[in-house]
Amino acid sequence: MSTDTKIPTVLMENTSKWYDQVIGLNDVSLAIDGGVTGILGPNGAGKSTLFKLLVGRLKPSQGSVRLFGIDPWKDTSPYRRIGYVSESERLYDWMTAQDFVSTLARLHGMTRDEANERTEHVLGFVGLHDVRHKEIGKYSKGMRQRVKIAHALVHDPDLIILDEPLHGCDPIARTSIMNVIRELGSQGKTVLVSSHILEEIERITEQIVILHNGRLLALGNLHAIRGLLDKHPHRIMLTTDEPRKLASAFIGEKPIYGVRFPDEGKLEIQTNNLSEAHSVLPRVIVESKIAVSSIDNPDDNLESLLGYLVGGDT
């Protein structure tokens, strides 16, 4: 986040949004500027509501929303500088990707030629150049996501908002979309990406916003937040044929304060310093000469992060 005095790209001040009786977003204040920011939160946390408020699809019930200092509900001028990929899967299936993206490009005031040129470029950028004259209805899910991203990038926006862009994509599409997002971030654009999967966001950015039940839980560097988490009780799950023998090897190691045997062939070690535990783990295993088939961190996910942040309720 920038610290100078210029107007932040995204600014929300005490913004709330109710749908009748249901709260979508509750008193959120944030300022985001430059680089990729991950918006993390489980389903129903308010990620899409936050984005819809940003792009002027919804009107805030309370508080204010500013993009480049302008209220997007009242004024369409920020739309010139925004690219928005919604979570909706729907597209004009009868159109080709080239048609779809260039038609929308013309809504930015481009001529037909400009729009076609930009569309070819942007479809190349998201890796759809070869199939750009195929009907969107014949595309796979990952290709459809990339068409949506292409339409959001065609006018070279300064702020790109991607609502669950990796949802439902296969691993190859996922990697390619992540590369696109990282590339946009490195170009100095402000990119907001939402996800309910911590690992996805971790692979894209360190700057995160965590939403839960419409509230802003945390905002900042993912590793810093994680560091806080590491200092607290944490579990590491090992799969081995000789769990009891391996457990004895851990006794006396400083960061580990307890062990459990939850299942046949499983060993759970308990620690209050995750990073230190991970540093001793390989040595102990090697020294004990016991075969270990997998090491899992069951607590290293969004749920446990949220659980920690909200005080162990989840």
Binding site: K52, R57, K59, Y84, S86, L91, M95, R106, D156
Partner: protein, 549 residues
């Protein structure tokens, strides 16, 4: 140059044009990709083709010459048409009564109680009951309009004892002969010289037959379209019309007894026999036509009936097929979902996350819809205009004079499509769920008000409908392009010509007391545009504050 390489000459307007172009184009392409679009356009085209088939069929029958007064017929089969028989006072329904043939002229009779009861002479005797002693008999009398059956001389029975008396069994309309040569006549006729004795309580008449004169029968065609409407197109109240076929003046006509006929020639009581009074106002509009009986009653059909029917078809097609049917169904299928469907499909945000104001967006969507239906209507109107103007009545190869009326119909339909499109789109926005039902109710109301407007144009309530004003527009255009439609309409009722023009067309009502159809046209167009603008504005007001979930 800005960062996207656009020149400084670029203005806000050129950008607006591009956005409008993109949305209009997208809208047309979307509509083209929907089956329902093709179904509704196909049904619309089918309707027009059926109307054309009906027109072609009707034009073949109707525009043939019609004998409007029926005097070319010959119901009794004597070879003389009614018109000719009327001139000679012969019976139209009796084959033995026709021009030139012997006619019985009554001279005298012996009634049931007259005295004396005998008469001698050379006569044609009719309905005789009595004893006749002849001195001369015409055995071969001419056939004439008999009052009674005539004696078949070569087949007269002897009077036997039992039929020698009138109380006997002698059959009515027969005769018998006594040995002394006296005939007993029982209700029969004959031509002979002699003495007749009529018993008490019975009667007999006699007279003479006129000479047979050979009169050439007139061809029936002489009595078709033989009395055309004569009007010199002069303004003011004046005596017009001429009894071309003479069946009002009846000069030289005789009755069945050969006496001249005194005709009743001045039903409209202006002191001029056998004329027509045309009352025309300052604007050249005919207020009334009053004709003396049998004047101008069998006009040239291709000129009057053909022209009237042709105009009726164009006006009826314009009002019902174009304004009321296409006008309602095209927007119901194509405009109702212009924005509602995008919301339902979840694709609206692609368009609205672009720098376009929602107010503009509605306008461009409607423009896209108008481009499609407008093109369709123009093609349909042109097709109808071309076919009807080529095969329609008249000597010209193409009735170019019809085209401005068709243009007016196209214009009225396009304005109606815009108004209904705006109404339906707005209703779809206000109530995405029940909008379609509200639209159907609205459509039924508009259809009924349209029918009311056609039949009773000055009724008050239809003023509240859109169709009323479009129909007014067509009425006004018709009067501007074909001012003589008023004359055709009045003529249809004055001379009892059945063309339907009086049902389908009335002079425009909303002329702001000027009586000028141009005023009615301007008023109607203004109101239709106002409805459109109002409804677009309403839609924009609703849509502007609509959250896109």
């Amino acid at each position: 140059m800005d960062e996207q390489g656009r020149g400084l000459s670029e203005t806000v307007w050129t950008r607006l044009d591009r956005k409008a172009g993109a949305i209009v184009e997208l809208t047309i392409r979307q509509l083209r990709h929907r089956i329902s679009t093709w179904v509704v356009l196909g049904v619309g085209m089918l309707l027009m083709v059926m109307l054309l088939a009906f027109y072609i069929d009707a034009i073949r029958e109707d525009f043939d010459a019609i004998d409007n007064d029926g005097d070319s017929e010959d119901p009794d089969g004597d070879g003389y048409p009614i018109g000719q028989e009327n001139m000679y006072g012969t019976d139209n329904y009796n084959e033995f009564s026709y021009p030139g043939y012997p006619n019985f002229i009554f001279e005298s009779d012996i009634d049931w109680n007259d005295q004396p009861r005998t008469h001698t002479g050379n006569h044609t005797w009719v309905s005789v009951v009595g004893y006749f002693t002849p001195t001369w008999i015409n055995y071969d009398p001419p056939i004439w309009d008999q009052w009674s059956k005539t004696v078949a001389w070569n087949d007269v029975e002897d009077c036997s004892d039992e039929n020698s008396d009138f109380d006997s069994n002698l059959r009515w309309e027969t005769a018998c002969i006594f040995d002394n040569g006296t005939y007993l006549m029982y209700g029969i006729g004959f031509t002979a010289e002699g003495t007749l004795e009529v018993p008490d309580q019975y009667s007999a008449s006699w007279g003479r037959l006129t000479d047979y004169v050979e009169i050439e029968p007139h061809p029936a065609s002489m009595y078709i379209d033989e009395d055309d409407i004569d009007w010199d197109f002069k303004l003011g109240t004046s005596s017009q019309g001429f009894d071309d076929d003479g069946d009002c003046l009846k000069i030289g006509w005789i009755d069945s007894q050969g006496n001249p006929i005194q005709a009743n020639m001045d039903q409209n009581r202006n002191g001029i026999p056998c004329d027509v009074i045309w009352t025309v106002n300052d604007l050249g509009e005919i207020i009334s036509i009053r004709a003396d009986s049998s004047v101008d009653e069998d006009p040239d059909d291709s000129k009057i009936l053909g022209e009237s029917s042709h105009r009726t078809f164009i006006i009826g097609t314009g009002k019902i097929a174009f304004v009321m049917i296409l006008g309602l169904f095209l927007p119901l299928f194509l405009a109702l979902g212009l924005i509602r469907d995008e919301t339902e499909n979840g694709t609206l945000h692609y368009l609205l996350s672009k720098p376009i104001h929602r107010v503009e967006f509605i306008l461009y969507r409607l423009l896209g819809y108008m481009a499609l239906v407008g093109a369709f209507v123009i093609i349909m109107v042109f097709m109808m205009a071309l076919v009807t103007s080529v095969i329609g009545p008249g000597d010209d190869l193409i009735r170019l004079g019809d085209f401005p009326v068709w243009l007016g119909i196209a214009f009225a339909t396009i304005l109606v499509l815009a108004a209904y499109g705006a109404v339906f789109n707005t209703l779809g926005l206000i109530s995405p769920k029940y909008g379609v039902y509200i639209c159907i109710l609205f459509g039924v109301w508009e259809f009924l008000m349209g029918l009311f407007t056609i039949t009773i144009p000055n009724a008050t309530i239809p003023v509240l409908s859109v169709s009323h004003w479009a129909i007014q527009m067509i009425d006004a255009v018709v009067l501007i392009v074909w001012p003589d439609t008023l004359q055709y309409q009045e003529m249809s009722s004055a001379f009892n010509l059945d063309t339907g023009l009086s049902w389908f067309w009335h002079p425009p009502v909303h002329t702001l007391q000027t009586g000028n159809p141009v005023v009615a046209l301007i008023v109607s167009v203004t109101l239709l545009l106002a409805v459109t603008v109002l409804m677009v504005g309403m839609g924009q007001a609703v849509f502007r504050n609509r959250e896109i979930m």
